[in-house]
Amino acid sequence: MTAVTHYFKNVVDSVKTTLIGLGITGKYLLQKPITVQYPDERLPIPNRYRGIHYLEQEKCIDCLACARACPIDCIEMDAVRHGKELEWISFTLDYQKCMFCELCVYPCPKDCIHMGTEFAFVSYDRSEFVHDLLSYRGMARDAKVRMVEAEKKKKAKEEAKKAKEGAQAAVVAEAADDEGEEASSEDA
């Protein structure tokens, strides 16, 4: 390739690829954004999500299987045994260390420790990241309630949308009829 053709090829290439790029970005400029406004609008969280643990205290037998399975030893539990009854003192999980690997869930013989769908922590103090799962149940339950509510809302929204679409379809059909009439009248 001579220098001259190379010179003009550069000019043509740069203009051409720039126009192609502008076309692609311009197409997206006119489309609807795909992000959501986070605190107001949340993406659905799948059931298997590995969030903050919750404990079914009644089932737990204080066997330490989860604590042993933990790679970083962030689970600590303390209970006093009165015969068959257990008196719980604490069941703490240090979320500064926890890496949400779910290894503590599998060895549980009673299937009582689970990973919930709650994931957000905000605190001014590090010590607050050591959660006591016994007292923490409330929040996990809250999360569940919120999920159920969100699902209800979603369903209602979908139904409303369907109803609206149905209405719109009717309107569109009517409009099409009108247009057809107009066209025929123009023809005449």
Binding site: V11, G21, Y28, P33, T35
Partner: protein, 398 residues
């Protein structure tokens, strides 16, 4: 007239500033303010205070316009980039985040103003002010309508080119005084880049100047009015076939002049952290920011004056026919036309920024010296020949 020398441009601009008063024509600009002040002046105020006050008020108005433009531009930029990238952009403050620039402004004002240890304090403090001041000076030559302006220079475009290129001094000052290697890199790049692109910028502007036969922005705009309306704009090939390539060259050159992507090498956030602005924070940093957006708008306005009909548009002519020449309606039509045209250019620059990667510094130089300058010269030659031999015979040009 065909020879262009930045030095001549600068000296003529200085002359223009010196003879500003004599150069002022009748209009709503400083003269109107001055007339008003003369009317209300109490006895004990000396006469020489009147023009000074008038200029002060004019500067205040320009500053306000620049700030509003820059603020709106930042909002627009964030919205354009957001929607191009399938995001929303700012949404929280006001309707679709339109008050976000205000919130940012408050934040920047309250932010700690740091001066790095070992920086040259004097230069460090002067630099952002100098950058903004030179741009404000250039903004004075921008007429909002045919009769509303602050200064109507015979060599208006030279004034703008000369003053905007002095921002480089401020940028180099900032880079040097920051005592940071990244800043120094950014400053050196800016200097090299602006010097390289001044040439094609000036040369490509010669093409519409030749067609219009004037350096005055208002006269250039008036030259594109007439019976054919939108078809009379300079950009059309039947006016001059070299106009479109000249505009493309001009547009590329102003991208480089305003440090916009793909020529944002002085900032180059992935290479030089933030270039010459690395060490700046708070309000000083926002001066650079304001300068960038105001310069974008100013250059786009210049482009629309020289290539896209200036004040002329169907809206303006409609307003003129309804309200009469120089009526308030006509003024509003002309002002909104030029502002919209300016923002259309700004939008195009943003669109390009969010599409293209950044070029390398040697490629910037290659592009400036090896591609834009020769091509601009070719355009000027061709346009000159067209104007000399073909244009006189065209019935629509007479």
């Amino acid at each position: 007239m065909l020879t262009f020398d930045p030095a001549i441009g600068f000296s003529s601009a200085v002359l223009a500033v010196q003879s500003a008063e004599s150069g002022l024509k009748d209009g709503f600009g400083t003269n109107a303010i001055q007339d008003f002040l003369v009317g209300v002046k109490p006895e004990y105020v000396p006469a020489w205070a009147v023009p000074l006050t008038a200029i002060g008020i004019a500067i205040g108005i320009v500053l306000a316009i620049v700030s509003v433009l820059a603020m709106f531009s930042t909002w627009l930029e964030r919205k354009v980039s957001g929607h191009i990238q399938c995001r929303f952009g700012p949404m929280r403050v006001g309707w679709h985040g339109w008050l976000q620039p205000l919130a940012d402004g408050v934040k920047l004002l309250l932010k700690e103003d740091m001066i790095p240890l070992g920086a040259d304090r004097t230069l460090y403090v002067i630099a952002p002010a100098l950058v903004l001041a030179s741009l404000l000076g250039a903004m004075a030559a921008f007429p909002l309508t045919e009769t509303f302006y602050f200064a109507n220079f015979g060599l208006g475009i030279f004034m703008i080119l000369a003053l905007t290129s002095t921002t480089t001094i401020g940028v180099v000052m900032a880079g040097w005084s920051s005592n940071s290697k990244w800043s120094l890199y950014g400053a050196m790049r800016e200097a090299a880049q602006v010097v390289a692109y001044e040439i094609p910028l000036g040369i490509s502007l010669l093409v519409p100047i030749m067609v219009a036969g004037s350096f005055n922005l208002i006269e250039v705009s008036q030259g594109q009015g007439g019976g054919y309306g939108i078809l009379n704009w300079n950009i059309w090939p039947w006016v001059n076939p070299f106009m479109l390539p000249a505009f493309v060259l001009f547009f590329v050159a102003i991208l480089a002049e305003t440090k916009r992507a793909p020529f944002d090498l002085p900032e180059a956030e992935s290479e030089l952290v933030a270039g010459f602005m690395t060490e700046y924070s708070g309000i000083r940093w926002s001066f650079f920011f304001m300068e960038e957006y105001a310069a974008m708008f100013l250059y786009c306005v210049v482009g629309s004056f020289f290539f896209f009909g200036g004040f002329e548009s169907p809206v303006t002519s409609l307003a003129e026919s309804v309200g009469g020449t120089n009526s308030l309606l006509h003024q509003l039509g002309a002002a909104s036309t030029i502002v919209l045209k300016g923002f259309a250019g700004v939008f195009l620059m943003m669109w390009l920024r969010w599409t293209l990667p950044r070029v390398r510094i040697d490629q910037v130089m290659t592009m400036g010296y090896k591609y834009l300058t020769p091509l601009a010269l070719v355009c000027v030659l061709g346009a000159g020949l067209w104007e000399a031999f073909i244009a006189p015979h065209l019935w629509w040009r007479s």
